[in-house]
């Protein structure tokens, strides 16, 4: 039965062949020949990797010369020779062997050599030793840390605070904890380097608005709104953040907060300046801050702040709460020095009158940054010879996105007296005249 059926099918097929039109047969024939060719041709790879013989590979390995690990640094690089301070960096500072009045350390409230802070640190040293030997998650949380976080939250009138053991790492860890790839961040042009690094680590879209220019920010926000309307699905999952500094370190100006927003979600601050300790903290509502306890890299993967530094910070907070008048005194001094430094020939003051960290820039730049830096360094050196300790503001020239012009940093502290301020102003004025003219 089967063979008869087969034969019958075969007959049908042969008949079909005869009946098919010629072009059909030719096309089928060509296709069959093509398939046979493909089946028998050699396979090839997209990249000719097997091209090199072992001998050639060894030769390549022998020949390759990498760059040296670090390029040579010239001996007179401006940042190579550090000023060495002998003893504490307090109001009367000994720099490179010379006694000067300190206008360079960020010791705004003069707490760097306050005996109460030292006593608190000593008490803590007696009980805890120096280091914590562990991150916060693994027995590195001391009662001192919890106290400090409580006090900071109360001082800043927020729900919760979280402390970091290094000021730079605070904002650089906080930003990537919230803003991820695909989110949008609006940041001021004069944002400091730590913020820039935090943004780089977060891999978000960064939109920069001109320094303190609220109209520019509004323009960017409006543009973003238009973008959102074009793509509403994407807009629903893109978070948006605005980052500003309270007092910009690079320009000495204050951000116009009332115009900006009614309520702040996260405040990040540094304990290394006014609080005369080490570290930084973030504060805000628990909903926001608690997230950093598991996703702030500088918090989870780093040892906690040594307790003696935390105890000193608590004592500094105590002092700040006990005499709130100290802030008005600082403000007065800032205004005074701001006024006194006006009118120095060749130098202009950059910064607001209430800012304790000012910059003195060259009124007319020579056109070349290196020469500007040399001139300013000459002024700084001569001022130090005459007993006023100043420093240039240091930047990493190749790494900054918007490099500020070279400047001399002037820091006002509550410990500086009238005479100190007068002396500083007159010294800088004289030196500037000799150097720049």
């Amino acid at each position: 039965m089967a063979t008869v059926a087969e034969q019958w099918v075969l007959v049908e097929m042969v008949q079909a062949l005869y009946e098919a039109p010629a072009y059909h047969l030719i096309l089928e024939g060509i296709l069959i020949l093509w398939i046979i060719r493909l089946l028998f041709s050699k396979t090839y790879k997209l990249q000719e990797r097997s091209d090199l013989t072992l001998k050639e590979k060894e030769e390549l390995i022998e020949e390759w010369q990498p760059e040296p690990l670090v390029p040579p640094v010239s001996k007179d690089h401006p940042a190579l020779n550090y000023n060495i301070v002998s003893g504490p960096p307090s109001h009367n500072i000994v720099v490179n062997g010379k006694e000067c009045i300190n206008f360079a350390s960020f010791n705004f409230l003069g707490l760097l050599d306050n005996p109460r802070l030292k006593a608190a640190a000593l008490a803590s040293l007696k009980k805890y030793g120096v280091g914590t030997c562990g991150p916060r998650g693994f027995y590195g949380t001391f009662d001192v840390h919890l106290d400090l976080e409580d006090r900071l939250a109360k001082f800043m009138k927020t729900e919760e605070a979280i402390i970091y053991s290094y000021g730079f790492a605070t904002i650089a860890s906080a930003i990537p904890a919230y803003s991820k790839r695909g989110d949008i961040v609006f940041v001021d042009k004069a944002a400091c380097f730590a913020i820039q690094k935090g943004l780089q680590a977060s891999r978000s879209d960064i939109k920069v608005f001109n320094h303190n220019d609220m109209d520019d920010l509004e323009r960017l926000l409006k543009e973003q709104e238009i973008e959102d309307q074009k793509n509403p699905r994407k807009a629903r999952v893109t978070r948006r953040f605005i980052i500003v500094e309270g007092l910009y370190m690079n320009t000495g100006t204050v951000c116009p907060l009332p115009e900006l927003i009614d309520d702040i979600d996260l405040i990040s601050a540094n304990m290394e300046n006014s609080l005369a300790s080490i570290g930084g903290f973030c504060c805000g509502r628990s909903f926001v801050i608690d997230h950093q306890r598991l996703s702030g890299q500088g918090y989870c993967f780093s040892a906690s702040l040594p307790p003696l530094l935390a105890a000193a910070a608590i004592e500094a907070l105590n002092i700040m709460e006990e005499n709130p008048g100290i802030f008005a005194v600082l403000k007065e001094k800032c205004k005074r020095i701001h006024k006194a430094l006006q009118g120095i020939p060749g130098l202009k003051v950059v910064g607001e009158s209430i800012s304790p960290a000012l910059h003195l820039q060259l009124e007319e730049t020579t056109g070349c940054r290196e020469r500007d830096v040399k001139l300013l360094q000459e002024i700084v050196t001569q001022c130090m010879d005459r007993g006023i300790a100043l420093t240039q503001a240091r930047y990493l020239e190749k790494e900054e996105k918007y490099l500020p012009p070279p400047s001399i940093r002037v820091v006002v502290t509550v410990e500086q007296t009238e005479e100190d301020l007068e002396k500083a102003a007159s010294t800088i004025s004289e030196v500037a005249q000799t150097v720049l003219l």
């Binding site: 590979k57 060894e58 390549l60 390995i61 390759w64 990498p66 760059e67 690990l69 670090v70 040579p72 940042a79 550090y82 060495i84 301070v85 504490p88 960096p89 350390s105 760097l112 050599d113 802070l117 030292k118 000593l122 040293l125 007696k126 009980k127 805890y128 030793g129 120096v130 280091g131 914590t132 030997c133 693994f138 027995y139 590195g140 949380t141 001391f142 009662d143 053991s165 790492a169 380097f193 690094k197 680590a201 629903r236 978070r239 309520d263 290394e272 300046n273 005369a276 080490i278 628990s286 997230h291 890299q297 500088g298 993967f301 780093s302 040594p306 530094l309 240091r394 990493l396 940093r409």
Partner: protein, 549 residues
């Protein structure tokens, strides 16, 4: 026998003889792997003995089952919370911001809300004494299943500390040897208020840097205020676009962050696997950058001395041989190994008897063995000079606090013997003795313990999330403080307890802990190891005979 391959090599060869073949093959998976001694080098005196035993199958099944059940219940509870049937204890957004895009993605918090939250009383335990061999833990209880804690006010005193990185036992409350630290607080104060490049370099820093260079036997060193920041701010200064970074699989978050911030291309090689590294190096040198085929500007290998989650010690002689052959640069993070391995505590370079000039960039932290805070980078003078001018930390980060610097100076002098006593050396030797004893006893009991037998970081595998919690809680009740780690610091199915042996632990303390662990092991059924090894297994291990031909 060994084939030297291309060029003269100082220490050993890139390819170990037959022992190398077993890395990809069967013998790596179960039991002890032994690497035979290096050839042609009389300095190298002991073999690397490490083990990463795999768990029996039923354990893995139950582990995943545990996570599965946890996840199911997680979905159920989320549903109940969202529909309002159950009260939600977590903090919520403000009313005005409810129609903003949510700040946290629901999914990334799922694990935290539902699995981590159940057992989170085992982490962030606050203490109120120095983190020495024994410490005081503040008792805290929860009334709402770990959503909030409150302190009862009671303090659990004299808990044996197996969790803090106190390798040499130098983290202790004040005693006369810390007199200089007290004096420094009184003269220098605490803060510095400026960066290294501006007005923040004190004479104390210079003293410390000279001492660190002497300690490590290198030309120069530079110190920074934070160990994490040392990596994340200096790797971008050393490499940039057009460079290649070869980073170990299990490198610390700071190394990963530093590598990412640098902008260089990153390629990962398998943990401590010299073959994987060699393959990457060969491909990199021969084929250059992807697509353009330009040669790489430089290649930097990032490894750690001791890996904190695995307890393994880097296979340094092999890696140094590789780096010499392929002209790459080696950056070694000795956060855990400085001060704790090596006959005089100088780290893994001394442990293996290598030449200190072979490593290009030494990096380490002062938090662990030195009982202080901060990090350092050391090496040749031109490297350190370059970092003084180009490091992010030197230009923007505050310098180290003076009393912390003094603590490091005092400890380093102690270890080096410069204070006139042999106390430092004794501590290093005591640590080595404690480590060997602890590890041997644990393996004999039948626990699966990872890592090198000389490493003071001892991970003990627990696998199941519920056992992780039970282990830590039971031990705290018996006044032993341990650290347990789970996902995401470790792979999902390999949760572990990590012990840090200290030179300050006495024999009695270690015996107490071992006894408690023995009982825990029986109670929680943790003795998974299938090789109940004797004290000296390597020479008699059956596997090595098969490979010798």
């Amino acid at each position: 026998m060994a084939d030297p391959g291309g060029g003269a090599v100082y220490n050993g060869t890139p390819h170990n003889q037959s022992a190398a073949d077993c890395h990809g093959g069967n013998c790596w998976k179960n039991g002890v792997v032994k690497e035979s001694q290096q050839n042609g080098n009389s300095n190298f005196y002991r073999p690397i003995v490490e083990s990463f035993e795999e768990a029996p199958l039923h354990v893995m099944v139950f582990t995943y089952l545990g996570y599965g059940i946890g996840t199911l219940f997680g979905y159920l509870r989320d549903f109940l919370r969202n529909s309002g049937i159950e009260k939600c204890n977590a903090a919520v957004e403000r009313e005005e911001q409810k129609d903003f895009v949510p700040l946290y993605q629901n999914f990334e918090n799922f694990y935290i809300r539902n699995i981590y939250m159940r057992i989170r009383d085992n982490w962030n335990r606050p203490i109120c004494s120095a983190p020495g061999a024994v410490f005081d833990v503040m008792e805290r209880v929860t009334d709402d299943y770990n959503w909030t804690f409150r302190f009862t006010g009671r303090i659990i005193k004299d808990v044996i500390n197996m969790g803090s990185y106190n390798f040499l036992g130098l983290a202790a409350k004040y005693d006369e040897s810390m007199r200089t630290v007290k004096e420094v607080i009184e003269t220098y104060g605490l803060g510095v208020g400026s960066t290294r490049q501006e007005m923040g370099t004190l004479d104390k820093h210079k003293e410390l840097e000279d001492l660190v260079a002497k300690f490590l036997n290198v030309e120069a060193a530079m110190v920074f205020g934070m160990g994490f920041a040392t990596n994340s701010m200096n790797i971008p200064a050393l490499v940039g676009k057009g460079c290649l970074i070869l980073s170990d699989e299990l490198n610390h978050a700071s190394l990963v962050l530093g590598a990412r911030l640098s902008g260089a291309t990153i390629r990962i090689f398998k943990h401590n696997n010299v073959q994987s590294l060699e393959k990457l190096l060969r491909d990199a040198v021969i084929y250059g950058q992807p697509r353009t085929r330009r040669a790489w500007r430089k290649i930097l290998i990032l490894v750690e001395g001791i890996y904190s989650m695995e307890g393994s010690i880097v296979h340094l002689p092999d890696i140094v041989a590789l780096k010499k052959k392929y002209k790459a640069y080696l950056y070694m993070d000795e956060a855990h190994s400085i001060g704790s391995v090596g006959p005089t505590g100088r780290g893994v370079v001394e442990f293996f008897g290598l030449d200190p000039r072979d490593i290009d960039v030494y990096m380490g932290t002062f938090t662990k063995s030195f009982g202080a805070a901060g990090g350092y980078i050391a090496g040749r003078k031109d490297l350190v000079d370059y970092l003084r001018t180009h490091s992010h930390s030197a230009a923007y980060g505050t310098s180290m606090s003076p009393p912390v610097a003094e603590q490091i100076i005092r400890v380093m002098k102690l270890i080096m013997g410069l204070d006139g006593t042999t106390e430092g050396l004794q501590r290093v030797q005591q640590l080595a003795k404690n480590t060997r004893y602890f590890r041997q006893r644990l393996s004999k009991m039948g626990f699966i313990v990872y890592g090198n037998e000389e490493s003071p970081v001892v991970p003990l595998l627990l696998y199941m999330p519920a056992k992780v919690a039970a282990f830590a809680r039971h031990l705290l009740n018996r006044k032993i403080g341990v650290v347990v780690v789970g996902f995401p610091a470790t792979p999902l199915a390999e949760a572990r307890a990590r012990f840090c042996v200290s030179a300050a632990h006495t024999q009695e303390m270690l015996d107490t802990v071992l006894e408690a662990l023995d009982e825990m092991g029986d109670l929680l059924n943790l003795k998974y190891s299938r090789n109940r090894k004797s004290a000296r297994p390597e020479l008699y291990d059956e596997m090595s005979f098969e490979l010798e031909d």
